[in-house]
Symmetry: C2
Subunit: 198 residues, 2 copies
């Protein structure tokens, strides 16, 4: 059966969102058409304006519609701390969960030579420029605890060492409230390896 | 922290979709901005055009951007059969899964007096007009097996009886491939009540 062409196009377009399959796309389309056309219009505008207007902060590469993001341009942040993360979502998670008041640098990925992602793709020259300003005393590396995240961390620590900047990496181990027996083996062995004297 | 206002607005707007909480909205926004701005623009256009252009078929109330939907205007459908469903999603499910070749009527809801949803809100006068055309020989009631769906079915059967039209209701019971012990009690008792001689 050929459904309404506009409806087919909407369902197809909704599938471009991660985690949204055809079934959910259909459910979303019907919900918006039946109950929330205003919401659909607001979403249309927000998408178009975000796609056109949001770029990257020239200093830290976080999403920003201005040359400098709100963190980089805030006078209240501790400019001696630089936390390096893989993605904008990591910045949001750290801002939401921790009291961290330093600056960030967003790699927008991790080293992955097989995919052609080397230092330049991760903004290494922008990072070096930032480190060259001599404000940074400590680089806090918050890349993911994966093979690629580890390699990226190693590369970043090298950049810091060249400039005599202290590098640290956030701790990985058993999550708070997690039960040992349900934690995956990699995490558990990481937690043992990274144990601290009490 | 105040993130990019355009990004905040996009994340808020994405939350208008059912099943999308703040965490998924954030993930979707980042994905579209990092990897699929073309998809974001296509989605924006599809949403705006669907919200503005999709109405309801004047005959069966299915979503349609033309006066009559593609099913009602198709010459190939069996006009003696009328399947009455609660929502457009039900039409799509029946079209996808069954070989049904008759027509539909979409109630866009079910009787729910406490919410002010009576026969008129379900398009009863449009349905009566349709039945008055004397093409319908059988009304297949496919409302959901819920208290409201049952009440709605009872009401529809009454409309059919007034005109001497045969009414039937689709069967409810243990799903094919389902294991008896995992089926909920209501379904199981329904399946017993609706048992057929072999
Ligand atoms: Zn910035
Ligand atoms: Zn129709």
């Amino acid at each position: 059966m050929s459904y309404s062409p506009l409806l087919v196009r909407l369902i197809d377009a909704l599938c471009c969102m991660p985690g949204v399959g055809r079934k959910s796309a259909q459910r979303i389309a019907f919900h918006l058409l039946e109950r929330n056309r205003d919401g659909a219009n607001l979403l249309a505008t927000a998408l178009a304006e975000a796609a056109a207007g949001i770029g990257h902060c020239q200093r830290c590469r976080m999403f920003s519609e201005t040359e400098l993001c709100s963190i980089c341009s805030a006078g209240s942040r501790d400019r001696s701390l630089l936390c390096v993360v893989e993605s904008p979502a990591d910045v949001m998670a750290i801002e939401d969960a921790t009291g961290y008041r330093g600056l960030y640098f967003v790699l927008m990925g991790h080293l992955s030579p097989l995919d052609g992602i080397g230092p330049e793709e991760l903004g290494a020259s922008a990072l070096e420029k930032l480190l060259g300003e001599n404000e940074t005393k400590e680089m806090i590396i918050a890349t993911n605890p994966t093979v690629e995240g580890d390699a990226t961390s190693h590369f970043l620590a090298g950049l810091a060492a060249q400039r005599g900047i202290q590098a640290s990496r956030i701790a990985h181990g058993v999550p708070l409230g997690g039960e040992l027996e349900y934690v995956d083996g990699g995490t558990l062995s990481h937690a043992f390896f990274g144990r601290r004297a009490l």
